[in-house]
Every structure is written in structure tokens, then in C-alpha cells.
Subunit: 232 residues, 2 copies
């Protein structure tokens, strides 16, 4: 797919990690297809996760009572968001597909990636309440995919497992964030417990990711209704 | 309860915010009861949310392949975690009750608070897998309570609302994090859409929080089973 653009938002500290291998595999396979691939390597960039006054360049609309949501929406409209947010927004704007590559930390994204969501996906850019969200969210023509690794095994993340169904943890991310912004969500790529399997099994997990990416542009988005996540 | 210690982990940028009022109200009411109250004001502290090599003082066990989870567990055992993590762990260790006061950002905690979870609640301190977690988690004699504000209304966070049931978003936090560490979880204090109600209604929300805190030590923990979160 020579005309497609992909953004990989990657959150791992160690290039030699399993997450690093999955990221590199995606870059290689998608580039081989002719896609233009951009990687936001959050730790390497020293990406700032905190939502702060500094995100707005120049004056605030109400300096006496700082309201982050209100101020960044105003700043977005005036093009006065700080440069690292603008740079990430440009990458998202240009992408046909956004892949998030991360290890599950406390049943969610690592804080550095949560900060990317908090700061980059602001009102005006990703959605505008109450007119443009979910099916009318600004990214309705884009695809998104979570590629995550877990510490626990698939059994632990099953309905009868200690943690409960992995889908319960995907709902806030896939429905609450991605679908809210309009993204069509592809099935998550979940690599369970890579630290606790053999080198051979890790290789198979990477190979299966590479294989899936060969046909990624033919995939249909998943149904993101509550029934798909929570029905017994 | 003159002998009780409370830690409030507070994540809002603006002291004059509604979150700030709820935090101040809790400090005042609990202090009035004779509790020793400590506040971790994350933005004011400039709390670091990113999980990085700097969290380990001195040598790594495997500098050639940085694995955050492994390294912090080792560092915890050697007392070589960085000082801001140790300071927060000391506060948690001493607390009978930990209250998290935050605005819901993208259906979860703001990144700065997620980073507090990621960095402070490390293996060895909060749990030890596979022997000490959930009912045997290290904080089994402590209480925890999420006090959060939302942008959306209660109707939007109902089963038939756009976002879906608010409980779906509480599961990863209350079950996935707090219960995993052993905490007994008190019912969440949810202040819906304070930005969109009258000043009078906001005052009532603050008053109801103060009222609840008067009897907080008599409350029973909630049932945290999947049925309570997901059954129709």
C-alpha cells in the first residue's frame, strides 16, 4: 500500500526489548509494503506526559483559574499549543493508521503514553463536544490498533482468571479514547507474557505480528459495542 | 479517629478548582476528626510520571537490557530506589486510608497520577507475584477511595449513555490496581460534570463529600467482583 501513512506511537525504554522487536518488525514490514512509517519513540524523545500551563504558549484566557481542557481548546484554535503537541498532532493528522506499541502497565498504558493521549488528543483536534465524537469524531477516516504485551498469561487475563477478561481493560482505551475520537479500531495485537515463554515462542509471536501486518489494510474494524466487551 | 492516618494523592493543576475544593474539604474534615492527613500534590511537586532508568540509584542488574519491572524490584530490595519514590512509599506505608482526588482524563487518571501508580506501587512494595496480591496484597489492612470528577453527566456515564457505565472505567483502577495491591476499596465518590452545574449544586457536591467523610471509618468496602461491574 504505497500511498498509506502509518504512525507508530511506541512506549518502551529499551530498544532490545520485545516491544522494541515488535516495533521494528512493524516498521520493516510496513516500509516493505511502501508505506511511509513514522515512529514516535516516547522515552527516547523524553516526551512530557504532564498536562501543564506550559502547553499553552502566551496568555491564558483565564489566568486566575487554570482549566486545562478549556485552555488547550482555545490554544488549539489560536494555534498557540506548545511545539511538541503540534508536532504529534501533525503526525496523527497525516496518518491513515496509528499503531500504539506498549507494555501493559497497571492494566493500562504506561504513564508516558497516557500523557500522549492526554496532551495530543485535545478538543478541537480529535473531537469537538457535543457535535463531533464517536462516529463523527475527527478521526473517522483513520484506523487505530493497540499492540500490547502483558506480564500475565492469557489464562490470567481470561474471564475466570485472576485479572479478569483482558477485554475489560481494553474498553477504556479502545472505546473510551480511540472510538471517542472517531478511529475505526482494528483487533488488538496482544502478546501475552513474553518474558515467561521460550525464545522460540517469542520469535513466533513476532512472526505472527509480521504476518498479520501483510494483510492489515484488508482488515475490518472490530465491533466496539459494550456487548462485545462485557456480555458473558 | 485520632489515631488514623490518611494520604490524599491529589492531581489537579489549579488550587481554586473544584478538585481543589474537594481536596481541601477532605483535609479539613479529616483533620477535624483528629486524623493525621498528608497530601501529595502531584503537580505542585512536579512529580515525575515516567518510568525510567533514573528510578534506580547506582548499578543496574542488567545494564545491557533494561527491564523496568525487574530493575525496580531489585532496587526496592536493595533500598536503591530514587528518593521521590521512597518518599511516596513511606507515605503509603503509614496510611490507613489513601484517597485519590483527580479529574477523569480520557476515562482514567491523568498521566501524572498514572505515573504515581506506575512508579510508587512497585513489586516488593505493593505486591509480590505470585504469592502476595489481591487478598494477600501487601495493603490488605489499608483502605483506598477514588474521588473523581467527570466532564460528562451521570446520564452519559450510564449503561445507555454514550460513554457507557462509569463502572466499566473504574474496574481497571479499583480491581486492576487497588485490589491487586490488597487495598480494601471504599465506594468511589463521583462528582459528575461540576463544570456544567450551578454554583449551588457544586456546593452541595462538596457538602455531600464532607458529610460522607464524617462516617468514613464505619464504611464497609465494596464488592469488587466482575459481576458487580459488568452484569446487566
Amino acid at each position: 500500500m504505497a500511498d498509506k501513512k502509518v504512525l507508530i506511537v511506541y512506549a518502551h525504554q529499551e530498544p532490545r526489548s520485545f516491544n522494541g522487536s515488535l516495533k521494528t518488525t512493524a516498521v520493516e514490514e510496513l516500509s516493505r509494503q511502501g508505506c511511509a512509517v513514522t515512529v514516535s519513540d516516547l522515552y527516547a524523545m523524553g516526551f512530557e506526559p504532564r498536562t501543564m500551563r506550559q502547553d499553552i504558549v502566551g496568555d491564558l484566557s483565564n489566568p486566575k483559574h487554570f482549566n486545562y481542557g478549556v485552555e488547550v481548546y482555545e490554544a488549539f484554535k489560536k494555534r498557540s499549543l506548545t511545539s511538541d503537541i503540534l508536532a504529534e498532532q501533525k503526525k496523527v493528522q497525516e496518518a491513515d493508521l496509528v499503531i500504539f506499541q506498549f507494555p501493559l502497565y497497571w492494566m493500562s498504558t504506561p504513564a508516558i503514553l497516557k500523557g500522549w493521549m492526554d496532551r495530543v488528543l485535545c478538543q478541537g483536534f480529535a473531537f469537538r463536544f457535543p457535535d463531533f465524537y464517536y462516529d463523527t469524531g475527527y478521526f473517522k477516516d483513520k484506523l487505530a490498533l493497540l499492540s500490547l504485551t502483558t506480564g500475565g498469561t492469557a489464562e490470567m487475563y481470561s474471564k475466570s482468571g485472576d485479572m479478569g477478561d483482558i477485554r475489560y481493560y481494553l474498553w477504556p482505551l479502545q472505546h473510551g479514547i480511540l472510538r471517542f475520537c472517531g478511529f475505526k479500531v482494528l483487533a488488538p495485537q496482544i502478546s501475552f507474557a513474553p518474558e515467561f515463554v521460550s525464545q522460540e515462542e517469542r520469535k513466533l509471536m513476532v512472526a505472527s505480528w509480521a504476518q498479520r501486518l501483510k494483510n492489515i489494510w484488508e482488515e475490518e474494524p472490530i465491533d466496539c459495542s459494550p456487548a462485545c466487551y462485557f456480555d458473558q
